[in-house]
């Protein structure tokens, strides 16, 4: 066999002769991998600009971009001092004060890729996370208090803050959203759980121009995290009011009122819709409140759309009323424009990236092309950074617990030892070497050890280390000892081969190929896996119809369980790969779907529901308990995670300054959102 003569492998060979346990071997491999990764020089330290919150240190004189100075001179804009809020967000850039100008070139994949720029515009969230992703920090709002009973959340806005059209941004914009958008049953038929802890709807109340109060009937300590997280309530205007969504806590009332029947009449708004080429007022509203489509929409982020996403180039330009400045008093952002160029195919985007066609790009960059991208660093004048993620598994096999079409298959999918055996039958080092080029961390789906909800290092290895012997023994024991002539285990009802189907779609990583490798590995434990590659709609329809055995996806976002639970536990019917009928049951409060007969799932639900009313410490404790159950029960089989595979292979032009050597790669950090692109600049 061609030896991969890497130190850990030879050491591993040595240990094998000493009959070391699989777990000890895996730990050794891991240490060697960490050393290799450090040697690559591609993984830096988590860093970012520093927020200055002490008003005494704020600058008192302001400068602006030359392109805006011209407009001020022409009388089209008020002077910069009038545009910046009395209480701005003040950044000390990572390295130095930047220079104005330049266009940030980037790639996007079409009108479905709104998230691409939503994320670079993520400073329109009320609260955000620090550069390392560990602490909640101010953003649009400057501060909050949570009452002792956890029922009242008071938020303080910045005095003198303005929308991108110069109108004042006040508490009224929150009330407008709450009453006229969220409160309109035609726009939002069902309230979000984000605003209704334990099913009891909360309220938004204006205290004064710059103070907003959220009131709840039950303790809702989790709400502080919800407001900072990438949630329906806390995500911000860009992401929550584009793509026909209608959430996000605030809306530009002064602009949107003209499109609502309430402020004129149904006939009037419908007539206007017809005139502008829409079928009805609701369709018109969905267009008008979408920042990626409507160039007139007032926004709060650093850039706003000047050429809509429906074009080969989606062009953004600086928001002249953006509320952040640097410590020298320069209004941010430094870069004038963001130009996103359409690339409908990932190969093409990666090829262009390799040629240096993009100034900064982490989205749509494929980790399997890393050697090629590294090869071309000099030629393309860029540098590659690897931003490791925190989620446990970039490729997870979610086992459908509510499957019922075939009782025999159900019997095994819901058998914990069967699932554990499948997990023990996966050679994660193989997957890691082949698809992650060795940079990932193999193991169970639990979040990274640095995360507050990690249950402890021993759970990384729980049932998640290759052990073919034990897997075979377990399968024999549970009643699958009989095999056919080709060595595959057979069904207990009709003696035919037991075929487990893995549905895989081409998404963040080559899931179909990865499933193929897993299928090959399962041969050694006598399990026949049929990999089915499908078109995405077809696959999600099959999931919703409860037809899948195993579905492959990642579990990104679950590192903060309460903010993004759906890839870890069956609570959200939109994506409930580990049990769509169970998720329906949970979400409908028991009126729809199937009640689980597995006490472990009921226990998970109990812990999860209880957590919303607990303070941080208690919440994290509950999350750890949930992870312990998940790792022990293996509803989702983790493979390799905490890697740069999703949004973590970052190409940055050498021309750009104030770039972090590592950015927080996580759902709640809105990568690259919380590294605050408004502080990046072109050096020459």
């Amino acid at each position: 066999m061609p030896n991969l003569s890497r130190p850990h492998l030879s050491r591993r060979g040595l240990l094998a002769t000493l009959a070391a346990s699989p777990v000890a071997m895996a730990l050794l491999t891991e240490a060697a991998r960490a050393a290799d990764l450090a040697a690559s020089g591609l993984v830096g330290e988590l860093q970012g600009p520093t927020m200055i919150t002490d008003p005494a240190k704020w600058p008192t004189k302001f400068q602006e971009a030359p392109m805006l100075a011209e407009r001020v001179k022409a009388g089209k804009l008020p002077p910069v001092a009038e545009r910046i809020p009395a209480e701005p967000m003040v950044w000390q850039p990572l390295n130095e004060t930047g220079k104005y100008g330049g266009t940030w070139r980037r790639a996007f994949t079409g009108p479905g890729d709104v998230e691409n720029a939503n994320r670079i515009n993520a400073s329109d969230k009320c609260f955000f996370w620090s550069a390392d992703g560990s602490k909640i920090v101010p953003c649009v709002a400057k501060a909050y208090e949570l009452s002792d009973d956890g029922k009242t959340y008071t938020m303080h806005l910045r005095k003198g803050m303005k929308w991108s059209d110069g109108s004042p941004f006040t508490a009224d914009d929150f009330v407008f959203w709450f009453e006229d958008i969220y409160g309109n049953k035609e726009i939002v038929p069902t309230p979000t759980t984000d605003m209704s802890p334990q099913g009891k709807p909360g309220r938004i109340v204006k205290v004064d121009e710059v103070t907003v109060r959220f009131e709840f009937d039950v303790p809702y300590y989790l709400f502080e995290e919800m407001m900072a997280g990438d949630t329906l309530i806390g995500g911000g205007q860009s992401v929550r009011q584009s793509q026909k969504l209608s959430f996000g806590a605030y809306s530009p009332g002064h602009y949107l009122k003209q499109f609502l029947p309430k402020y004129s009449s149904l006939e009037e708004v419908n007539a206007r819709a017809k005139k502008e080429g829409f079928e009805n007022w609701l369709q018109m509203l969905h267009f008008k409140k979408d920042w990626s489509l409507n160039t007139e929409l007032p926004t709060l982020g650093p850039w706003k759309t000047v050429q809509s996403i429906n074009n080969p180039i989606w062009l953004l330009e600086r928001n002249p009323f953006y509320y952040a400045i640097d410590t020298a008093g320069n209004q941010l952002p430094y870069m004038d424009k963001v130009q996103l160029t359409l690339g409908e195919n990932l190969e093409v985007i990666n090829l262009r990236a390799m040629a240096g066609d993009y100034d900064e790009q982490e989205r749509h960059i494929d980790i399997s092309k890393l050697p090629v991208l590294l090869d071309n660093q000099d030629k393309g004048n860029y540098k590659v950074h690897l931003d490791l993620g925190f989620a446990g598994s970039d490729f997870i096999l979610q086992i459908n617990q509510s499957y019922k079409a075939d009782p025999e298959i159900r019997k095994w999918l819901t058998n914990a030892d069967f699932r554990r055996a499948l997990s023990l039958g996966i050679d994660r080092d193989q997957l890691n070497d082949t698809f992650w080029l060795g940079v990932g961390t193999p193991g169970s789906p639990v979040p990274g050890e640095s995360m507050p909800q990690n249950p402890g290092p021993e759970w990384r290895k729980k049932w998640s280390v290759l052990d073919v012997r034990q897997a075979n023994a377990m399968l024999d024991k549970i009643g699958l000892a009989k095999k056919d002539s080709a060595g595959f285990r057979v069904r207990t009802d009709n003696g035919e081969r037991l075929r487990i189907q893995i549905v895989a779609i081409q998404a963040f990583m080559p899931f179909p190929k990865m499933s193929e490798m897993v299928g090959d590995q399962w041969q050694k434990i006598g399990i026949q896996a049929d990999v089915r590659e499908m078109e995405r709609n077809l696959a999600t329809t099959r999931v919703r119809n409860n037809e899948t055995h195993i579905y492959t996806w990642n579990n990104g976002g679950t590192e903060l369980l309460y903010l993004f639970p759906r890839h870890a536990i069956p609570v959200d019917p939109t994506e409930a790969y580990m049990g769509p009928e169970y998720a329906n049951y949970y979400a409908s409060g028991g009126t729809q779907g199937m009640k689980p007969d597995d006490p472990n799932i009921l226990r998970i639900w109990e812990l999860f529901t209880e957590a919303a009313g607990l303070k941080a410490e208690g919440r994290n404790h509950n999350a750890q308990e949930i992870w312990k159950i998940l790792a022990d029960q293996q509803y989702g089989i983790g493979t390799v995670g905490q890697s740069p595979a999703g949004l973590g292979v970052r190409l940055v032009s050498n021309k750009l300054g104030n770039i972090a050597s590592r950015v927080c790669n996580a759902q709640h950090c809105r990568t690259p959102g919380n590294s605050h692109a408004e502080t990046w600049y072109f050096k020459a």
């Binding site: 066999m1 061609p2 040697a39 690559s40 399997s368 050697p371 190929k513 193929e516 090959d520 099959r542």
Partner: protein, 368 residues
């Protein structure tokens, strides 16, 4: 043999003999016939000729370049060997590189032992045409290199030929039969039959193929095996393929109907079928042969498009199209260009089919 006896022989030879003589003279066609036969032999004995299980993955074998064979030993004796390979991933460039380990050579042997299979689906054996001494072939032998998952390209190619040369051909034949039959009927009878068939063709042709595939693929039941899915997809591709041929055949029929020899045959009381197959079809045989030799590559290429739509075929249904699809990415072009070798058998087999067709057509008209 003197000239006169040869002439006499020609004069008395049967039609079949004449065709064979004529065909034999067509050297390239003869060679092509052997090549086609060889490909089918390979397909029949695919498991024997492959030396590695085509689905056997191993990260330590990822992207091995084609491996050279040393044919003679130091003393100049014929003694084919391959060097064992040592692989390494550079921690800075993340590239895998393989160097031969000069200390470790493996002898190439004929009829060595490898993975177990059933010859013709019946006889269990583990004998393979090629093997290596003192090692498992999947760890030592990489004649055409390996792919990303460390699977042997040669073995995969060989096994894929089985699918592409059988099921793939079924589709081609189907669209041929449909095309000639419906085109012929349309051209011969004219009238409302012609109008209906022409409209159906028009509708089918004017709808781009992609929505048709997507719609039909979605209708494939969840429980089908990959081979069944593959077969159905082939049928779908061929169902669209027949229309072009039908249009051409109809055009030819319209023109031929007026020809004197057809009228003569009609007057002589020949049946419709006889007229079609004996007199009309041969007069545009070249076109049909060209159409068939074009349909085969089209079928294989269509598979690569399917993958693009997320309807890709997965093992054990590997075919040339699937392998070709695997090679369509940046890392292959930059790091593993040998994966493009997959296009080679496709080209060879198409050329062979084409020349064989040429030879057959020439031979079918021995007096021409």
């Amino acid at each position: 043999m003197s000239a006169t006896t040869a002439e006499n022989k020609v004069a008395v030879a049967s039609q079949r003999q004449l065709i064979w003589w004529r065909f034999r003279k067509h050297k390239l066609a003869l060679v092509s016939a052997f090549i086609v036969a060889a490909f089918y032999l390979v397909a029949m004995f695919a498991d024997t000729i492959a030396y590695t299980e085509p689905f056997d993955t191993q990260s330590a074998r990822s992207y091995i370049p084609p491996q050279p064979i040393t044919w003679f030993d130091a003393d100049g004796h014929f003694h084919p060997t391959v060097n064992a390979l040592k692989g390494k991933r550079d921690p800075r460039t993340f590239k895998l590189s393989y160097a031969p380990d000069p200390g470790e050579t493996r002898d190439l042997v004929l009829f060595g032992h490898g993975y177990e299979y059933r010859l013709f689906g019946l006889i269990p054996t583990d004998i393979h045409l090629l093997g290596v001494s003192n090692s498992r072939p999947q760890d030592a032998l990489f004649l055409l290199g390996t792919d990303q998952l460390g699977r042997d390209v040669f073995s995969r190619l060989v096994l894929a030929s089985r699918t592409s040369l059988t099921i793939g051909l079924v589709g081609v034949v189907m669209s041929l039969v449909l095309g000639v039959l419906l085109g012929g009927i349309s051209g011969l009878y004219g009238g409302w039959i012609d109008v209906v068939i022409q409209r159906v063709i028009e509708i089918l042709r004017s709808i781009p193929t992609i929505p048709l595939w997507m719609g039909l693929a979605a209708a494939v039941p969840n429980s089908w095996t990959p081979q069944q899915v593959y077969f159905v997809i082939t049928l779908i591709i061929s169902l669209i393929g027949w229309t072009e041929l039908a249009r051409v055949v109809r055009g030819r029929f319209l023109a031929l109907r007026e020809e004197d020899f057809i009228t003569a045959a009609e007057l002589a009381g020949a049946s419709q079928m006889r007229i079609i197959f004996k007199h009309m079809v041969p007069s545009f045989l070249s076109h049909i042969i060209a159409a068939v030799s074009l349909a085969l590559p089209a079928m294989i290429i269509s598979e690569t498009t399917l993958s693009f739509l997320g309807l890709g075929l997965r093992p054990p249904a590997i075919s040339w199209g699937v392998l070709l699809q695997d090679a369509q990415n940046l890392q292959t072009l930059a790091l593993a260009p040998w994966l493009l070798v997959v296009a080679l058998p496709v080209i060879v087999v198409i050329l062979a089919f084409n020349f064989l067709g040429d030879g057959l057509r020439d031979a079918a008209d021995p007096y021409g």
